[in-house]
């Protein structure tokens, strides 16, 4: 797999289930060590300069990264403290971010009691605490209602507007179409196409990205199974 993401763009990363999207993202975030190959994120090598890479990236993973028994504010303050931000600027940053996702009035309530939409909004801003250059969003709108979906998509656009580079995976083709500047389609661990959404549609002579996707990856169901269950799959999303 060979890919390059340009600074300041939204890079849509699409592919059937099991194609390797999440694996690729986890490798880029230094959460998985690649068995071969190399990559640089924000100019740093993901294997040998992992701490530097982590300072530059924010991850909105498939699973919620929030402690359910802590309040929104406590969660953000805790994760922020891991980045060595001083207390005063962190407090300000947390208030700002809570305001950004309209959760200020719920900031002292425990996250376990939040609705899915609220949790996901909070989950997105958790990745923004240290104002990272690059933000990875792994299926950020899965299982959200239309209001929350709209909110999160607008937030992603706004982040792009603020100069962040964004890598997005999703199974919702209209979302990829709406947000992405560049789209890569990955299948069987290989990238089979990289282009703007418009180019892809033109090339495949299709009206929408769903048809493009099916043309390129086929209609066959992707069934594969490994005997080893990855830890992150043993329980579902919170």
């Amino acid at each position: 797999m060979d890919l390059g993401v340009k600074e300041g763009e939204i890079y849509g990363f699409l592919g059937p289930n099991g194609a390797g999207k999440t694996t690729a993202i986890r490798m880029l975030c230094t959460l998985l060590t690649p068995s071969s190959g190399s990559a640089r994120v924000a100019g740093f090598d993901i294997i040998h300069q992992s701490l530097e890479v982590r300072k530059k990236i924010g991850l909105v993973s498939e699973k919620l990264i929030m402690y359910p028994r802590l309040t929104a504010r406590e969660n953000l303050m805790f994760f922020g403290s891991l980045y060595g931000i001083n207390q005063d600027s962190l407090t300000k940053r947390v208030d700002e971010l809570l305001d950004l996702v309209q959760l200020t009035s719920f900031k002292d309530r425990v996250v376990g009691g939040y609705s899915s939409g609220m949790r996901q909004r909070l989950n997105v801003v958790r990745a923004l605490l240290h104002d990272p250059e690059i933000i990875f969003l792994d299926e950020p709108t899965t299982a959200l209602d239309p209001q929350s979906t709209r909110f999160v998509r607008d937030l992603v656009k706004e982040l792009k507007g603020r100069g962040h580079t964004i890598v997005l995976t999703t199974h919702i083709m209209e979302e990829a179409d709406e947000l992405s500047d560049t789209i890569s389609i990955i299948d069987h661990g290989k990238i089979i196409a990289t282009a703007t959404p418009q180019e892809l549609k033109k090339k495949c002579d299709a009206d929408n990205l769903l048809d493009v996707f099916l043309t390129l990856t086929g209609r066959q169901l992707r069934d594969s199974a490994s005997d080893r269950i990855p830890m992150r799959r043993t329980v579902g999303r919170m």
């Binding site: 959460l31 998985l32 701490l51 699973k63 990264i65 802590l70 891991l82 830890m231 992150r232």
Partner: protein, 405 residues
């Protein structure tokens, strides 16, 4: 703030968050605090105080007071009646037994089988005649063998009461036999050599005094072993581990934070046990509290590495839990905390002595009861330190590998 200061603060922050999490989970907190209390009360009452003083003169209450015992007077002579009366008097004045009279052995036996009696004392036909005729007389004692613990207590106490009666009678006999020569002391004839216990530690001690330090070590160490492991596997499954690992902190800071919070938890439980043991079961601390804390910390240190390794190699929490229990059970019984292990076969003793808990419990016991300094427990401590270093050194790469695969 410098990076070095930061690096030290991260484990503290992780530990503080873990403890806040425990504080928020009220039911968990309740169980967490109740567990040592329950454990301590259970074992405290299960292992009764051991009498220290001479059994003929002491007044230490029995562990199982007022057990129901029946007397069957098959012999109708005066001597049998007198001895039975003495038996009742002694038993009741010392709250050993509540004595009733049964018409015959079979009736008493039925009651014993039904659990209404704990023992039967039969004065057989010819008891009085034997005594009158200058022969040794026998009483027949039957206890409920299906309850070995009570059975041995009852038969022991019955024997004691009869030896008291017997030695009183012997004293009279000897005096009668020797009333002409006053130079001989009847005690010299009956019991030329007597023993008197000189306790190792002052005051009245109970076997619980010896158990409490072991349980403290056990609780602290088990807390560390399972706590660190469960904390890590839960965060992995919950997804929050990703949040820790994707931030610019080394994996060792995550481990250090988890170890710190679990140590604090273990210490809270350990001291709760000690407090309870002191307040309710009369356990006394003779040793230096600082040495105690050092021993407990080393006990924890020797186990967290093992906990981390087990959790890291297990695919999920359930397996991790089972692996930890697999290690805890033999450790509980083979570390000499509940039972001394000297009666076990050599290979089992070897397993017990291969576990650091054995040394932590041994050292803690010596510190608390015998008030020893570092010099006496140095051997134990060296083993714990070696264990700690090796297991922790092994744990860090195993943890890192498990987290990034």
């Amino acid at each position: 703030m410098s990076d070095r200061v930061q690096a030290w603060l991260i484990p503290l922050r992780i530990a503080r968050r873990d403890l806040l999490d425990l504080w928020r989970a009220k039911m968990l907190l309740f169980a967490f605090l109740l567990m040592p209390i329950l454990l301590m009360s259970m074992f405290g009452y299960m292992f009764p105080p051991t009498p220290q003083a001479n059994q003929f003169t002491q007044s230490v209450p029995t562990a199982y007071p007022n057990l129901p015992v029946a007397i069957v007077l098959t012999d109708s002579g005066q001597q049998a009646y007198d001895v039975a009366t003495s038996f009742i008097q002694i038993s009741e004045s010392r709250s050993l037994f509540i004595v009733s009279e049964a018409p015959n052995f079979n009736a008493a036996r039925d009651e014993l089988v039904r659990g209404e009696l704990s023992g039967i004392v039969v004065f057989p036909e010819g008891f009085s005649d034997s005594l009158k005729g200058g022969q040794q007389a026998l009483v027949q004692v039957t206890v409920d063998q299906t309850n070995p613990q009570i059975a041995s207590v009852v038969s022991g106490e019955i024997t004691t009461v009869f030896s008291m009666i017997s030695s009183d009678m012997a004293m009279q006999n000897v005096e009668q036999m020797m009333h002409n020569s006053a130079t001989v002391n009847p005690e010299f004839v009956l019991e030329p050599i007597s023993t008197n216990g000189e306790p190792l530690i002052a005051g009245n001690s109970s076997s619980f005094q010896f158990l409490a330090p072991g349980f403290m070590a056990l609780t602290v160490v088990f807390g560390a072993l399972s706590g660190v492991g469960f904390a890590i596997s839960r965060e992995r499954e919950q997804g929050t581990m990703d949040g820790l690992l994707v931030s610019p902190i080394p994996a060792t800071s995550v481990i250090a934070g988890k170890i710190l919070s679990q140590t604090v938890r273990g210490m809270i439980q350990g001291f709760l046990i000690l407090g309870l043991a002191m307040a309710v079961f009369g356990v006394r601390i003779y040793g230096n509290p600082i040495i105690m804390v050092v021993v407990m910390l080393l006990g924890v240190a020797s186990f967290v590495g093992v906990g981390i390794i087990l959790t890291s190699i297990a695919p999920e929490q359930e397996t991790a839990q089972m692996l930890v229990i697999l290690l805890q059970f033999p450790m509980m019984f083979l570390s000499g905390i509940i039972f001394p292990i000297s009666q076990l076969p050599i290979w089992m003793q070897a397993i017990g002595k291969a576990m650091p808990l054995y040394y932590a419990a041994d050292a803690l016991r010596k510190v608390i009861i015998l008030n020893v300094g570092f010099d006496v427990i140095a051997g134990d401590l060296v083993i714990l330190v070696v264990y700690s270093i090796f297991t922790m050194l092994a744990a860090v790469p195993v943890f890192k590998r498990a987290m990034t695969r």
